[in-house]
Symmetry: C2
Subunit: 475 residues, 2 copies
């Protein structure tokens, strides 16, 4: 027995108020000038109240993939609800448009809202496929046309980014994924959107604090190489005391750590002069600041000869004081190999000194990771628990744009088609509804119907046509 689920929802079913804020630059002028010139030409031709239907859809899944995740809807809804030209917008348009434009048009523009637009959409986060309308906009021709560019802008990158994140999630399986791309993102909002939509796509958190504040996304972070290089020697440490949570007294934390380090140096046969004292001082100071959340970047000098030794010395010191360290981050080198080395250090120390959780310390990797790196690491038997992913995630390196388009499919009740010598660019005319048909185990097919047709019914035969194939589906 097949189940039929409606894919299209009307605005009141789509809105929720989780995110109140909206980027202030999302406003009616965030559009292409031709939308305004067309609005004038429609107005002048007395076509403003023609009743139009537009479909927003894409033609090809991104990243040579088999699916897309629809996102950006929340921002579209806020945009539509607040759609109105301000006095300053009108003043600016008067400056840049030809002086022949009639004054009444500006009066008309000022009155426009999207209040009478009927807005249908697939729910945010839905897996979608090419040519299925993601959004259908119905109503006054001029208003529906004026929404085009902004809706496309809000959906295109959001859906691309969410899809990209979902692909990383599929590659990484159960491992933790964090978005670290703010510094390389395409501008401030590119950074915020990347954090938000990678979370929707399945990431566990972000380093972007503002994204955390605005969108209630978990925020993650420890320290950078600069923190390590800002210390030269143990003597520089001005704060050496840490509360011992077993005894609840403040005790010197440096001495026990130095003792642990001596033991580890001999245990792992490394050379004292190669173990950085600046790095150790940085780790100690960070552990004193965050005794319950100590996570260290271990590749500023040499991971095996310095970083891991210093980290483990501090982690064992924390253990003596009744705290548990979190783990390490690797930001360069052969990540599979180094993660195995780190895990071996942790296991050996955990066994030798009877600290059972040591073997489970987190190993995070974060150097130029992309989907292929993760897949290739999977083949190499790595010991990484989590990835911090920046540039390639947020810029969608593999394909930096999704090609959503917004096409008129009906006007005043008559279907419209955009012809093209490129068959792929021909639109499917008419007002359509979308249904997804489910079998027992999973979804089977997305079905497009004319809006006036009755919905398919589970248990009844439904004729499903493909542009190139016809087959009969037993519901």
């Amino acid at each position: 027995m097949i189940e039929v689920r409606r894919r299209f929802f009307i605005m009141s079913e789509l809105t929720n108020s989780r995110y109140n804020c909206q980027n202030g630059i999302v406003q009616p002028l965030l559009t292409d000038l031709y939308q305004i010139t067309m609005a004038y030409a429609y107005w002048k031709s007395k076509k403003t109240d023609d009743y139009a239907v537009f479909d927003l859809f894409f033609r090809k899944n991104p990243f040579s993939g088999e699916f897309t995740v629809f996102a950006g809807l929340e921002e579209c809804l806020k945009f539509i609800q607040k759609f109105r030209f301000s006095d300053s917008d009108i003043a600016y348009l008067r400056q840049i448009l030809p002086s022949s434009i009639e004054n009444e048009f500006y009066e008309y523009l000022k009155t426009l809202t999207a209040d009478h637009i009927k807005f249908y959409a697939v729910k945010e986060g839905t897996v979608v496929f090419p040519r299925i309308p993601l959004i259908r906009v119905e109503g006054q021709l001029v208003v529906a046309q004026l929404l085009e560019t902004t809706l496309l802008n809000l959906v295109n990158y959001a859906s691309l980014m969410t899809t990209n994140a979902a692909r990383y999630r599929l590659a990484a399986g159960h491992l933790k994924l964090y978005e670290f791309g703010l510094r390389r993102a395409q501008g401030p909002d590119g950074g915020l959107s990347a954090s938000r939509y990678s979370y929707i796509g399945g990431f566990d958190g972000t380093s972007n604090v503002l994204a955390g504040k605005l969108f209630h996304i978990p925020v993650k972070g420890t320290h950078a190489h600069a923190y390590i290089t800002s210390f030269n020697s143990i003597d520089e440490l001005q704060l050496t005391m840490l509360r011992n949570s077993n005894t609840d007294t403040d005790e010197n934390f440096v001495h026990p750590v130095l003792k642990w380090r001596e033991k580890l140096i001999s245990m792992f046969g490394v050379i004292l002069s190669e173990v950085s004292n600046g790095e150790l001082a940085a780790f100690i100071s960070f552990a004193i600041a965050f005794p319950d959340g100590f996570m260290a970047l271990v590749d500023t000098y040499d991971v095996k000869k310095s970083g891991l030794i210093n980290f483990c010395a501090v982690a064992l010191g924390l253990h003596d004081f009744g705290y548990k360290a979190l783990g390490v981050r690797l930001d360069s080198g052969d990540l599979a190999y180094l993660s195995n080395v780190a895990r071996e250090y942790f296991n050996n120390i955990g066994n030798k000194y009877n600290v059972p959780y040591f073997g489970k310390l987190v190993i995070m990797a974060s150097n130029d990771i992309n989907e292929e790196t993760i897949l290739s690491l999977n083949d190499q038997d790595h010991k990484i628990d989590s990835f911090g992913i920046g540039t390639h995630l947020v810029t969608c390196q593999k394909q930096p744009a999704l090609g959503c388009v917004y096409k008129m499919v009906e006007l005043n009740g008559e279907p419209r088609i955009k012809l093209s010598q490129d068959v792929g660019k021909v639109t499917i005319p008419g007002k359509k509804d979308v249904y997804r048909l489910y079998g027992a185990a999973h979804s089977l097919i997305d079905l497009l119907q004319k809006a006036e047709e009755l919905p398919p019914v589970a248990g009844q035969k439904t004729l499903c046509r493909h542009p190139f194939q016809v087959f009969l589906l037993n519901l």
Copy 2:
């Protein structure tokens, strides 16, 4: 004789107030969490007043190219001038940071500003090269560190975009270039930044109205395919009258256009049934709305058999009425070939009916243009006057991120270095100034010196070392 020009300018020399607005999301929390956790660890270690010097630079020119154009500075300056955590920022940080963090730290954060930071930078729009510091930040360690992520975010995409635009400009020579990428840009701000920085990089304008309003960039646009398909026939035209500017009376505009179309149909031997009446109606209505600015999209149906015929008929009608049409836009097909066809139509009609400017009507092309398309069109003897460029420009398809980094090079007067097994990642330590040395014809070399050294002097010998070569330059 060689001229020496200082490349680094201090803040007061850099600020201008052309753009007052700033995106509201550029604020101190638009950063990575680890900047805040490091700030706490510095504070806890009593290192907050250490005096640090950071360099912002990149290691490799983008797009396999030979240069980069520095941009984003204006936004950096505004960010620094307004840098201050709000009460709501502090409240949020209290929520997400460990409860062990001392209350005094939050009090301390609240007092921070960048007022005592010394900020040096290369001027916006300067051509720059790898490893030259674009920005040098000096001052209180904690503040200088807290600026990192936001400065990188503001410089990275801005410089990448400006460089990309400059490359399109070099490829296109004197042709007009317009940025049309808003709908495919990486979010709302990605779109605004693309418009702004493509203009700095040498474009002539944008379709993005808000960018025009905020940044005083020329805005360009006509109509979309939807406008054309919204008309079915000539009978639909509700407005048929246009002011004849020769006689200053309102006259029927449809009849003369239809007469011209008959002549052109026979002149070019096309078939009446293949010339779209909907398209003609759309063109007429658009010309009536914009008689002084008529530019038409001619590829909705067939460029040769319909679009050009309808456009020329309307343009000749406008000529009779004392107006000059602007030209056509081609958005599909073989652009070199179609531009030659269009130019031939225009020349033949101009000659036959003695309308001299007809041969010079603008031909704009706008379908998936990138740098390679322009270079390839250059080889094909096209007749295009201007390009509208979207997706590939704004997403920087060839390389979607510039790798600017921000590295500590000095602390409390002592040079600092970030070592790496990857030699390319080793930093150049110490506080440096930058000079550009000019010969008679062009610039010769960028010279990095320790900040305390005297500037090079024109007419005196200066030893210039390359990491791998040494040579003597006669100034």
